[in-house]
């Protein structure tokens, strides 16, 4: 590998290239020019004085936040010989599996298109545009005929693909034994065990205060809660993303959460962002896409039926319809193992000049996709702000939950981590469930794919997502899934079928997330 000095230079150059020409860059230039009028700027030390001014006025922190955002998202610098596909996903057989999965989804979408004789995209006539604009804030009242549409795929279809992943170079001729892996995932990825998890999640330990545990009514507020809230307010005044990320590992007070999440994700709501959202909205008005119907169907099937989220139905349409048309999302495919589907103008199949990405953001929604947005509606009521935060959460975290990759936060690693934790620490339970034909992953998969949205109570879900942001990783979802099984272990040992096991774990809405995680990680006897 390159030495550290070279790696750092490459990273710096990549970030400079990314931020050059961005909105922040022009704002900084404008600020630097304007500050020349100020009396404290002297000609002799021009460079130093301008830098000092930018530091004092908070612009340096904004630049730091932008750089930190890129560092969080950039893959590690790769070898100069490594091609782009290797950066997306280093293992060849996983790339192949992702490619076949994408072909299947596309085939399903195309066949739905031909069956229903609906074009992938069409321009709306003017009166339809006017009608939609009038109804923009209440699209939920619309009852279009969606009976012929079906979701392109559901999480259980994706699970079957993951179960069938095999490394062609792996020796699976050994007889199943106590040494072998009992679970469904047969990909030998590196996952953390409990000692390593204790180190990674050190701030969740028994000796640190946590929101979700130390803010209950029995504990006086001045023990932890009020001091933690005071620190939170200070972090918000400083507007420092890195500090906010460290702070939120111990949870976030409800009143500060909206601003803190926006700070950590570096999601701004400047006039330019609002204008961009309005442009996307006019895109929705002008053109009707087939995926819009899939979004309608998904919202009607999932969020509208949920006791907590049905009130936000209209917001979900406003966000997801715009999301489908946002080409900024295409940038994340540089580090996503998936490739956006391309469709060709009629008659020009195979010619790259006539290829266009469909949908424009490259993401085909599946059954349950709208549940990624629903919890955010509790935090943001301005559509453009809600939209920017959701988009940032998607390109940082959620995309990993439905693409095949070897990344430590990818869904394959999460499934393997869940199964490993269960096999190591609850072997009797795992063995029993296997014997009755109830593989634990079949129950836990749907929780992890949705990041527990729709399964936990909303306040608990937001505490969980605080930690996802704080640790910049989704591994905590696998740990929580194992912790839930540990909590209900006694009941599960008594069941005799998959249906009964599902029934025991059907309702998670009464669970308290942080005590479960703390007990599983720090109080389990090993």
């Amino acid at each position: 590998m390159m030495d550290e000095g070279t790696e750092l230079s490459v990273t710096i150059a990549q970030i400079v290239q990314k931020l050059k020409g961005s909105n922040l860059h022009s704002q900084l230039e404008r600020q630097a020019k304007e500050c020349l009028q100020r009396p404290e700027i002297q000609l002799e030390d021009l460079k130093e004085d301008v830098k000092e001014f930018l530091k004092k006025s908070g612009w340096e922190t904004k630049l730091q936040n932008a750089v930190y955002r890129e560092l969080n998202v950039l893959p590690p610098p790769s070898h100069p010989e490594a091609p782009a596909e290797h950066i997306k996903e280093p293992l060849a057989y996983l790339r192949k599996a992702q490619g076949s999965w994408e072909k299947r989804i596309l085939k399903s979408l195309n066949s739905m298109c031909t069956e229903l004789s609906i074009p992938l995209a069409r321009k709306r006539p003017v009166n339809e545009q006017k009608e939609l604009l009038n109804k923009w804030n209440e699209m939920g009242t619309d009852e279009p005929d969606l009976s012929h549409f079906r979701p392109v795929y559901a999480p259980k279809d994706f699970l079957e693909v993951l179960i069938n992943l095999r490394n062609p170079n792996y020796d699976s001729s050994d007889q199943p034994s106590s040494k072998s892996h009992w679970g469904l995932i047969q990909v030998p990825l590196k996952v953390k065990d409990i000692p390593e998890l204790r180190e990674s999640f050190a701030e969740l330990g028994l000796n640190s205060g946590q929101l979700g545990i130390d803010d209950t009514t029995q504990v006086p507020a001045d023990v932890f809660e009020s001091e933690h809230a005071g620190i939170g307010r200070k972090v918000l005044i400083e507007q420092d993303s890195a500090a906010a990320e460290q702070y939120i590992r111990q949870g976030c007070p409800n009143e500060l959460r909206a601003e803190l999440w926006a700070l950590i994700l570096n999601a701004t709501n400047e006039p330019e962002d609002i204008l961009y959202y309005e442009q996307l909205k006019s895109g929705v008005l002008h053109h009707d896409l087939l995926v819009d119907n899939l979004i309608y169907k998904d919202v009607k099937l999932t969020a509208s039926n949920d006791d907590y989220y049905f009130v936000f139905e209209d917001y979900l349409y406003q966000v997801l319809l715009c999301f489908s048309r946002d080409t900024v999302v295409l940038e994340h495919f540089n580090y996503n193992s998936a490739t956006p589907p391309k469709s060709y103008i009629q008659g020009k199949l195979g010619l790259e000049d006539y290829a266009v990405v469909y949908p424009p953001n490259g993401v085909i929604p599946f059954h349950g996709f709208s549940m990624y947005v629903a919890p955010l509606c509790f935090l943001y009521n301005e559509p453009s702000k809600l939209y920017t935060v959701f988009r940032e959460m998607y390109v940082r975290y959620f995309f990993r939950l439905h693409s095949i990759s070897s990344f430590s936060s990818g869904i394959v690693s999460l499934c393997l981590q869940f199964e490993s934790l269960l096999q190591t620490h609850l072997p009797q339970l795992f063995y029993h469930l296997r014997e009755i034909g109830a593989q634990p992953l079949r129950i836990a998969f749907k929780w992890m794919v949705r990041a527990f949205s729709g399964y936990l109570a909303t306040d608990q879900l937001l505490l969980l997502w605080d930690r996802v942001l704080g640790y910049n990783s989704l591994e905590i979802l696998a740990v929580l899934a194992a912790a839930v099984f540990a909590f209900r272990a006694q009941n599960l040992m008594e069941v005799t079928s998959l249906a009964a096991a599902e029934a025991v774990l059907a309702d998670l809405s009464t669970l308290k997330v942080m005590p479960l995680l703390q007990i599983f990680l720090f109080a389990t006897i090993m």
């Binding site: 290239q17 070898h79 490594a82 060849a92 170079n169 792996y170 020796d171 590196k190």
Partner: protein
């Protein structure tokens, strides 16, 4: 830094095993790949794509330019270089690696042959090897260096205007 990839012959990997290669059921855990050069060279970089090799040793056969009568000598220039931190799992298994002159124990000058000794202690893999082995030579002092493309994006240092050259 230089990009002079050398022409060399990479021989097929040879398994080192106790017992008969054909009849023994156990898979080999060590392979040796020999790379030969037509004449003696000074190495800059050895780059390759890994395929499930866990550890790498590199030995060089050097000739002494002062006394060409004395035969070539084998020296170890890299010992137990780890490519896969955990040999049973996928990390590093298909990554691209480079070994630079600065990492080697001896100066890789006047080299006639390179021997790559691959080890994979884990029994879960069916095969392991190195692919796309490329060896780069040290360039001369004045050789043209190929700069990465991002160099051109750096802002140029502004030269102060030569006011005296401006005619009024």
């Amino acid at each position: 830094m230089c990009d002079n990839v050398l022409a060399c012959t990479v021989k097929t990997p040879v398994a080192l095993q106790i017992g008969d290669v054909k009849t023994d059921t156990a898979r080999p855990g060590v392979f040796v790949i020999d790379v030969a050069f037509p004449q003696s060279v000074n190495l800059q970089e050895i780059s390759f794509k890994n395929y499930y090799t866990a550890f790498l040793n590199v030995r060089l056969q050097k000739v002494d330019p002062e006394s060409p009568e004395s035969g070539a000598q084998w020296v170890t220039c890299l010992r137990n270089h780890c490519l896969m931190p955990n040999p049973h799992t996928e990390e590093g298994s298909q990554d691209y690696f480079s070994i630079y002159r600065q990492q080697m124990l001896m100066e890789p000058d006047n080299v006639t042959s390179v021997r790559l000794i691959l080890r994979q202690p884990s029994s879960v893999w069916l095969n392991f090897t190195l692919e796309d082995i490329k060896i780069a030579e040290c360039g001369t002092e004045n050789s043209e260096k190929k700069c990465p493309s991002w160099f051109s994006n750096l802002t140029p240092v502004e030269q102060p205007m030569n006011l005296q050259a401006v005619s009024i």
